[in-house]
C-alpha cells in the first residue's frame, strides 16, 4: 500500500492553492484531479468521518453500507452488541461483499467465491473447508475485512482509517463541549427518523464543506426567498428586519464550527418582544429539538456553563470538519406550532466534480411519536432534496465547480477577508475560538486552515 506517492506534489502544490497571509484559496482547488487524489488519502483516509447512527442498526446482524470517501464500508452490529465498520471489499478478489444498502445478516458471504465474514469483519472461511481455499500463506486471522477504527458519539457512528491518530475527543477538542449540547443532552439520546436521503451534486465536495463552517452571510441573498415568504421563523419581509438573526456567536476549533443565535432573537422572531430572564426563556422556549418534557433531562445532563450557553444563545447550525453540516433549528410544524428540524448532512466526494449529499433527520427518542412525524415533514420542507432552503445551495455549488474548469476562472480566488476576530464575551465559556457579532469569514477560514494542516501533515 502506497499512500504517500504524491508527497512531493502535495507539499509544493498545496502552498500554492492556499494563500495564508491574504486568506485566499485558489479556485483551481475546486477541480484539480491530483489534489483530489491527495484529499482522499490525506483527509478522507485520515479524518474521523460520521457514517450513520446506531439507531439505524438496533439488532445484532443489522447493517448499513456507507461511504468513507470513495470506499464502501459495512456498518454492522456484531454478536458482541458493538458497532463495527469494515471495508466492503473481499480480501480474496476485491468483490463487494455486501450488495444491499441495508439488512440483517449473521454471515456476510461474498457471492463470487463464497468467502464468508462475520458482522465484525472477521473471516469465517471459504467453501470446501478441507481444500483450504484461502491457502496456507496467510492465517484466517489475517484474512478478515479491513477494519476501521470506530467510536460512537451521541449514537453517531464515527470511523477512521487512522488507527494511530487522535481520539475522537481530541479530534473535536474544545468543540465537544458545544457538540454535547446537541448530541448528548438527553438521557436516551437521538434516533434517526428513517434511512437517509442520498443524491449526487455535480460539484467539488469542498464547496459544501467550507460553506458548512458557518457561512451565515449567504442566507440573506441565496435563501432570500425563504425569508421573503416568512418561512424562516419570522414575519419579516425585508432584509433589514431579518438581519437580527445574522448577529450571533460563531465558534470554531480544529476546523469544526457552530453558530449560536441569541435566544432572545429567536424568541422575538417567534413570539414578539418580551423581557424574560434567560432562565425563564429557557423554560418557555427550550432549544431546538427539546420539548418541555425533556428539559429537566437537559438540565441534569448539562453543566452550568453549558446551560448558560443554551439559555443565552444555543448552537443551531454549523459543521464538523471535514464534511459534515449540522442544522438543529427551530422550524414550524404542520399543526401551526413552532417545532424544530434536526438535520445532519454528510458530503462524500465522488471524484473532483461530484459529491454525494446524504441527509439524516433526527428526533430525541423521548419525543412524542406524532411530533416526530411533524418534525420529519418540517425537515423535509426546509432541508435536503426538496428543502426550500437547501435546494438553492445545491444549485450554487456546481456553478463554483464549473468556474474552476476555465483556465482563467481557476486563477481567481475564494476570499475570506471579512474578519470579526476573536472577541469572546466575558460571560461566555473559555472554550474554542469565539466570534461575536455579524457572522463573518472567521470560522470558514479556520476550516481551510484545518484542511491545510491535514493536507500538509507528514503522512
Amino acid at each position: 500500500m502506497r499512500l504517500n506517492s504524491r508527497k512531493e506534489y502535495a507539499n509544493e502544490a498545496i502552498s500554492q492553492f492556499i494563500d495564508i497571509e491574504n486568506r485566499e484559496v485558489s479556485v483551481a482547488a475546486l477541480h484539480d484531479a491530483e489534489l483530489y487524489e491527495l484529499e482522499l488519502e490525506r483527509i478522507f483516509a485520515k479524518a474521523w468521518l460520521m457514517i450513520g447512527h446506531e439507531t439505524e442498526i438496533p439488532n445484532v446482524g443489522d447493517y448499513v453500507v456507507r461511504l468513507m470517501g470513495e470506499d464502501q464500508v459495512i456498518v454492522a452490529r456484531a454478536a458482541d452488541g458493538q458497532v463495527h465498520v469494515s471495508l466492503n471489499v473481499c480480501p480474496h478478489r476485491a468483490m463487494h461483499v455486501c450488495l444491499a444498502d441495508s439488512g440483517n445478516a449473521r454471515v456476510h458471504k461474498c457471492i463470487y467465491h463464497g468467502w464468508a465474514f462475520r458482522p465484525d469483519g472477521s473471516f469465517i472461511g471459504a467453501p470446501i473447508e478441507r481444500e483450504q481455499m484461502h491457502g496456507n500463506i496467510k492465517t484466517k486471522d489475517q484474512l478478515g475485512l479491513k477494519k476501521a477504527r470506530v467510536q460512537l458519539y451521541g449514537g453517531l457512528v464515527f470511523a477512521t482509517w487512522n488507527h494511530d491518530g487522535p481520539s475522537l475527543d481530541d479530534w473535536f477538542g474544545d468543540m465537544k463541549f458545544y457538540y454535547d449540547m446537541l448530541f448528548c443532552r438527553t438521557d436516551n439520546g437521538l434516533e434517526v427518523l428513517g434511512p437517509p436521503q442520498r443524491l449526487t451534486i455535480d460539484a467539488n465536495w469542498k464547496t459544501a464543506g467550507e460553506q458548512s463552517a458557518c457561512d451565515g452571510f449567504h442566507t440573506l441573498t441565496l435563501h432570500g426567498s425563504v425569508i421573503d415568504i416568512g418561512a424562516m421563523g419570522g414575519e419579516s419581509d425585508t432584509e433589514h428586519e431579518s438581519a437580527p438573526a445574522m448577529y450571533g456567536i460563531n465558534l470554531s476549533g480544529n476546523g469544526h464550527s457552530l453558530r449560536c443565535i441569541a435566544a432572545d432573537t429567536s424568541w422575538a422572531l417567534a413570539h414578539g418582544k418580551g423581557d424574560l430572564t434567560p432562565e425563564q426563556r429557557l423554560e418557555a422556549f427550550p432549544p431546538p429539538g427539546i420539548t418541555p418534557e425533556l428539559l429537566p433531562e437537559v438540565k441534569r445532563n448539562m453543566s452550568a456553563e453549558q446551560l448558560h450557553v443554551l439559555a443565552k444563545a444555543p448552537p443551531v447550525v454549523g459543521g464538523m470538519f471535514p464534511n459534515m453540516n449540522i442544522l438543529f433549528i427551530y422550524s414550524p410544524l404542520r399543526d401551526g406550532t413552532l417545532g424544530s428540524a434536526l438535520v445532519l448532512h454528510s458530503i462524500m466526494p465522488k471524484g473532483p466534480d461530484h459529491f454525494e449529499w446524504t441527509t439524516y433527520y433526527f428526533a430525541e427518542k423521548g419525543t412524542p411519536e406524532h411530533i416526530k412525524v411533524m418534525m420529519r415533514a418540517s425537515a423535509t420542507l426546509g432541508t435536503g432534496t426538496s428543502g426550500i432552503i437547501e435546494q438553492d445551495d445545491s444549485d450554487t455549488w456546481p456553478h463554483m465547480t464549473e468556474s474552476a474548469k476555465g483556465v482563467i476562472g481557476r486563477t481567481e480566488t475564494l476570499k475570506y477577508q471579512a474578519i470579526l476576530g476573536e472577541n469572546r464575551p466575558s460571560d461566555w465559556p473559555n472554550k474554542a475560538k469565539v466570534y461575536e457579532g455579524f457572522g463573518k469569514d472567521d470560522a470558514q477560514w479556520e476550516w481551510w486552515l484545518a484542511y491545510h494542516k491535514l493536507m500538509t501533515a507528514d503522512a
Binding site: 439507531t55 439505524e56 442498526i57 438496533p58 439488532n59 443489522d62 450488495l99 444491499a100 444498502d101 441495508s102 439488512g103 434516533e191 434517526v192 427518523l193 428513517g194 434511512p195 437517509p196 436521503q197 442520498r198 443524491l199 449526487t200 451534486i201 455535480d202 441573498t221 441565496l222 432570500g224 426567498s225 425563504v226 421573503d228 415568504i229 418561512a231 404542520r334 454525494e356 449529499w357 433527520y361 420529519r376 415533514a377 423535509t380 420542507l381 435536503g384 432534496t385 426538496s386 426550500i388 437547501e390 435546494q391 438553492d392 445545491s394 444549485d395 450554487t396 456546481p398
Partner: protein, 188 residues
C-alpha cells in the same frame, strides 16, 4: 425490523377494487387529468396545478433502499424526498410564484413529464379512484448538453368533485436510490 423501514405499502393494492377498463369514459377522463397536470407543470402553470390538489392531500416520495430480493417488500423508508400536505405544497408554490429569488428554478429548468402505463381501479369510496402511472421526467438546465432524468411509478388517489378531479394522495416510487439530480425544486 428496524425503525427506518416504512410499514406503509405505498402501492396500496388493498384499496383497489374493480379495474376500470382501458378506453372507458372514466379511464379517458382520468388519463386527460394526468396529461393536463403534466402539461401545467411543464409550462410552469404552477398555480393552476396547485388548484388540482385536494385539501387533505398527502404527497410523498419515500427514500428507496437497495435490498436483497427476499426483502423486496421493504424497499421504502419512512423518510422521503417529499413529505407534504396541502399547506406545505401551497408554501412551496407561493415561494416559486411570489418571490424573485427562488434560485434553484431561476433560471428555470426545461422539464418534460412523460406519463404512461396508466391503470385505474375503483375504490370503496364512490367518486374516488386508485391510479397507477409511470413517469419519465427529463430536466435540462441552462446550457447543459445532457439531461437529468428520473423514472418513477406514481400511485395516486383521485377524487371527483364538482370542480373536476382533485389529487388527494400521491406516492412517488422513484427508481433511483441515489438521485442524479441535485434537488427537487420541481414537482413530480
Amino acid at each position: 425490523m428496524s425503525v427506518t423501514i416504512a410499514t406503509v405499502n405505498y402501492t396500496r393494492e388493498d384499496q383497489r377494487r374493480g379495474e376500470v377498463p382501458y378506453g372507458s369514459p372514466v379511464y379517458n377522463t382520468i388519463m386527460g387529468f394526468l396529461i393536463r397536470e403534466a402539461r401545467l407543470l411543464d409550462h410552469r402553470e404552477i398555480k393552476a396545478w396547485g388548484e388540482l390538489l385536494a385539501e387533505d392531500l398527502e404527497y410523498k416520495a419515500p427514500v428507496r433502499i437497495t435490498r436483497r430480493v427476499q426483502q423486496f417488500d421493504q424497499e421504502f423508508g419512512t423518510m422521503g424526498h417529499f413529505d407534504e400536505d396541502h399547506n406545505s405544497m401551497m408554501l412551496r408554490i407561493t415561494r416559486l410564484l411570489t418571490t424573485t429569488n427562488a434560485w434553484s428554478e431561476d433560471p428555470a429548468s426545461r422539464v418534460r413529464r412523460f406519463i404512461s402505463n396508466v391503470s385505474i381501479w375503483e375504490t370503496d369510496a364512490p367518486d374516488e379512484y386508485e391510479v397507477s402511472s409511470y413517469l419519465l421526467l427529463t430536466r435540462n438546465r441552462a446550457e447543459a448538453k445532457d439531461y437529468k432524468q428520473l423514472s418513477a411509478e406514481r400511485n395516486d388517489r383521485l377524487r371527483m368533485t364538482k370542480d373536476g378531479f382533485k389529487l388527494a394522495r400521491r406516492s412517488i416510487l422513484l427508481d433511483q436510490v441515489v438521485l442524479g439530480m441535485p434537488n427537487f425544486a420541481i414537482f413530480l
